[in-house]
Each structure stands twice: as C-alpha cells, then as structure tokens.
C-alpha cells in the first residue's frame, strides 16, 4: 500500500511539474536570417505609431512583446527559452543581467544617436553599466514629494524632513516599499541609500518609527489616488506618475527634496543570445533620434534622457520647463543615487529592521 501511495505521489508531482513548465512565451517562428527584430518592453511603454514608422523606414519587421515586471522578464531571458534582440529593463536589473553575463556589448558606431543622451544621464548610467557599453537610457525619473497647494502653501515643502513636521499630522502618505522608505530616512540623515552600515540603518529605523504616528497611510500605487481624491495632501511618489496627476488636478506640485533621492532608469539592452544584433542596434538608434524620443515623451509622459527631445519640449511645452518631475533641480539631482543590489546578507538586515519598524 505504501509503495503504491508513493507511486501516486510521484505521478502527481510530475503532472504538476508538467503543468507548471508549459508557460514559456510562444514565439512565432520566423526563419532565421530574415529581416526582423524581437523587442521586449514594458506594457504600454511606447507609442504604437513608432513601431510602424520604424518598420516603414528600415524594412525591418518588429515582433513586439511586453512584460509587466523585471522579475517576470529575467527568467525568460536567462533561460534562453525565447531569444529577444532588444529588451528594456530597469537599472538594477541591467546590473544583475550584466553580472550574470546576459548582455551583449552595444556597438556605438551603429548607434550614432547616442550623442543625444545627456551628460548627467550618462554619468548615472556609469554607476550600473561602467563605460555605457551595455545599456542606453530610454526613460528616467526620481522619487519625490507631491503635495496639494489647495491645502499646503506652495514652497513650504522642500525636503524630506518636512514630512516629520507635527503640523502635517495625518496628511502624509509614505511609500510602503522597503528600499524607498529607507531611502527617505537615510537621505535625510545624510547617508547613502545603499548603505550596509548597521548603525546607519538603526538610526534610519528610529527615525521612521518616530514618524509613524504622524503618517496617514503607507501605500504604493494608491498614493496617487488618495492625493487625487484629497484624502490626504502630501505623498511620496514616483516622478513618472506626476504629469498624469497634474492633468487631473493642477493644484498638485512635485518637488525633488534637497537632501537627494533615488533616481531610476529604464534602458535598452541587447541580450547576449540575440539573433539580430544589427537590427537591435538600428532599433535603439531609432529610439534615440530626437523626434522619436519626443514622440515617446508625448505618449508616455516620462522624463526623457534625450537632449534633442528636451529642446523640443522646451519649444512645444514651455510650461513643463519648471516641472521638477521632468527637469529636476540640478543641485538636488547631484545628490540622487541609483539603488544597487546589496547582497543577500544586507537584504536580510534591511528586512529585519523594516519589520521592526512596521511592527512598532
């Protein structure tokens, strides 16, 4: 009887494995050597017209797939189950892919439009992709504070420490994600958002605990909605959300805090196992063309790293020029940092302190 039970268990598990294994992407087979480029990007992250324009101009057929999170994209690329030619991950994922040897070097001779990428973006990119050899920024942004000038006087919030003021009790919404909330506390204390020093983490934890009673809510995506329906008037938010919110309610203002913040990038990369490298480079070059970068901006409303596009925004939308979500203060930007992967030991330390703060 026991033996039969184990056989059953084994068959059952095999069956379950078979069910689980069958969800790799199905890719329409195009004969090798034909003129195609396989693009893998975030969902709703491009103006569909651009794909048509690229196909028309170059004669290269685009096969376009989307993903929702970096974590979902990574195993598909690393397992090689589907071979894409060009992918658009976030900076920490670029760092991880690079460390695991999954990225091909981009031949910049084939991407002359790289010249339009601004100097400051190149410098940030250096910190996760030394030499700018493997990734080319597509969009970027910061984490900052958005507040409602109907309730709070414009200009009265300029730094993270303002969120600790007693007068804003029950008005402040903080980010409910570990790295972002610790970034706020660490930056305020003048430490790096990538610290692995336990003492600094201890201080940041105490700071967050001290703020807890004043905070209205810890949330992530909901912060945007709560600001819009005026449940609370101050929220920590990704700059990418800002233009959408301001379109709905023009009394909302975004600031990049003086102490500095996090800055993030989504960049084009070419996987090492790509099949059409030259087509991929043609795609990246096309995306870096100022008119196309401008068109992208008009569609997705994220800050662009493209100098040519910035000049066009200046001309077409002068009202955006003093919007800190798109053109942050240089001084504050200089203090911003990319999140780096800190290793599993530091991760666990962050987790431990974060739980202590949450349970307090």
């Amino acid at each position: 009887m026991r033996k039969r039970f184990f056989v059953f268990l084994l068959i059952f598990s095999l069956f379950m494995c078979a069910c689980g294994a069958d969800d790799g992407g199905d890719q329409p087979e195009v004969p090798a050597g034909s003129n195609v480029v396989y693009v893998y990007n975030y969902g709703d992250y491009i103006d569909p017209d651009i794909i048509d324009m690229f196909e028309e101009e170059t004669g290269i057929k685009v096969i376009y797939d989307t993903f929702d999170t970096n974590e979902e994209m990574y195993p598909i690329i690393s397992s090689g189950s589907v071979r894409y030619d060009v992918v658009c991950p976030s900076e920490y994922m670029v760092e991880k892919m690079l460390a695991n040897g999954l990225l091909a070097e981009i031949d910049l001779d084939n991407v002359p439009n790289f010249q339009y990428i601004t100097e400051s973006c190149r410098q940030f990119a250096e910190s996760y992709d030394p030499g700018n050899k493997h990734s080319i920024p597509y969009t970027w942004g910061t984490v900052g504070i958005m507040y409602d000038t109907d309730y709070i006087e414009e200009g009265s919030i300029t730094k993270w420490s303002d969120l600790w003021k007693e007068e804003y009790r029950d008005e402040v919404m903080m980010m409910d994600s570990l790295r972002d909330i610790y970034m706020v506390a660490l930056k305020q204390l003048g430490y790096s958002a990538n610290t692995t020093n336990e003492q600094e983490l201890r201080e940041a934890t105490d700071l967050l605990i001290a703020q807890k009673d004043l905070v209205y809510k810890y949330a992530t995506d909901a912060i945007r909605d709560f600001l819009l329906n005026e449940s609370a008037s101050i929220g920590v938010i990704y700059s990418g959300e800002v233009l959408y919110c301001q379109e709905e309610d023009d009394s909302l203002v975004y600031v990049l805090p003086e102490e500095g913040s996090n800055v993030w990038f989504d960049s084009w990369v070419i996987p090492a196992n790509c099949r059409n490298k030259e087509n991929a480079e043609a795609w990246i070059n096309f995306m870096c063309r100022p008119e196309i970068a401008f068109k992208t901006f008009e569609y997705i409303y994220y800050a662009t790293p493209n100098q040519g596009a910035i000049e066009m925004i200046e001309e077409e939308y002068p009202e955006f020029m003093d919007n800190m979500a798109l053109f942050p203060d240089e001084e504050a930007l200089a203090k911003c940092e990319i999140y780096h992967y800190l290793g599993s030991e530091a991760d666990q330390m962050y987790n431990r302190y974060w739980k202590e703060f949450k349970a307090y």
Binding site: F8, Y216, A359
Partner: protein, 276 residues
Amino acid sequence: MSRNKQLRNLSLSGPYLFWIIGGTLIPLVMMLWYGLTADDGSFTLANVLAIGEPGHAKALGQALLYSAISTVICFLLAFPLAVILRKSKMGVKGFILFVFILPMWMNFLLRTMAWQVLLEKGGVINGVLTWMGLPRMRLINTPGAIIMGMVYDFLPFMIMPLYNVMSKIENSVIEAAKDLGASDWQVLYKVLLPLSVPGIVSGVTMVFVPALTTFVISNMLGGGKIFLIGNVIEHEFTVGDNWHLGAGLSLVMMVFILISMAFIAKFDKNGEGNLI
C-alpha cells in the same frame, strides 16, 4: 476483494485522494521542508525560533490581541442573536439568518474595500459628520478599524454554530428548568449557556483562527501602519523573498490551529457545533 471492486473503489475515492494529496498533503510537506531548512538545504530550527525576534514577537502579540478582542465582540453579538433566533418563528428566523448570511455571498475583498470607502478621511461616514456640522473623525488606519473589519468579516462564522447548537435544545428542557423555579437569567446561565458550549467553542475557533492569520484586513483598513503576524508571513513570501522564514513562522501559526482543533475535539464530541 475482487479486482473489479477494487477498481471501483479507487475510481470513487480517486478525486478525493487527489484533492487531499494535492491540496493538503503536498503543501504541508513543502511547508515543513521549507520551514525546517536553511537556504543551503541544511536542517535548522532558526526559522521557527525566529518568532522570538522583536518584530515578529510584537506582530504576533498584536495579532493575538486583536483577534481575541474581535472574537469576544463577535460572541457578544452572536449569542443574543442565537437566543432570539431560537425563539423566533420559522419565517422570521429564515429572514434574520438570510440577512446575516447575505454579505457572505459577496467577495470578501470587496466587502473590506467597501469599509475603506466608508471609513476614509473623505469617506461616507465623515461626509455625513461634516454635513451635520460635526468635526471629522479619524476612523481608518487605526486598531479600531481593523477590529471592526474582523468582526464584520467573521461574525457569520460565530452565528452559524451558535444557532445550530441552540436550535437543537429541546423546549422541554427550558420548561423543566422554569417548573423547578429558575428565573429567566438562571435559564440563560445555567441551561442555555452550558448546553451551547460545543457551538461556542466551534464559533470561537472559527473566528479566532482566521482573524489571527489575516493580512488583508490589516493591510486595507490599517493603512500599513499596523503589522500583524499574517503580514510578516506575507512579506516573507513576497517582497522579502525568504520562503524558509515565511514557512517557519507559518509552522508557529500551525501550533495555534492545532490547539484550537484540540479544543473542538474536547468540547464538541458529537460535532454539534458544525456549520452544516
């Protein structure tokens, strides 16, 4: 047993076996395996003992406190209702039960979300208050809101077993008590209450255990400010990406479930307090 009969028995019990193995046994074994191993696969008790860390212990303490309070409130609400239901006529009884069971047909998340809309700073309740010229109240993101949500979500689980066990008490028992000179209060305390112990035990566990392990209610009505043990476990399985610790802490929670099961077994020998 003939071969044919064996085959028939297997085909009849097959779906059930499949369900038990796939839905209970394999997950349980996996949880034990994750909970008792470290990242490198070696045996360790650290994940279970981690319940003693300050953050975890505090979260467990809060969860125990909140679920105990909401269990008591549920009982105080459900017991009188069960007494009323016992005495009511068939039609009225059906209607009252229907009113209490009706919300259970709606999705649990949706109902909790509805409370968010009600309790929010700019929400319905505060809207009514300001309309009446009263100051706004701070309702959401407080311990009170979480307990409120627990009571609301789990009250039917207290009502059903209490009603079940009480409707089985013969009227003659109560008449006999009254004949022997018991007052109404004495009937309640000395007859109805002791006779409904199986239902009470079953109701208490059915409210206490889910309230103890919830993370959705504390997330939605606590605004991320209140962290229960369920939230810790959820965090370890998602963002924290430490399944070993998550499973280890779940094993600690299993202890509470086992204690409850032992209680039911002791007090509810005939299964009288069962929902159905």
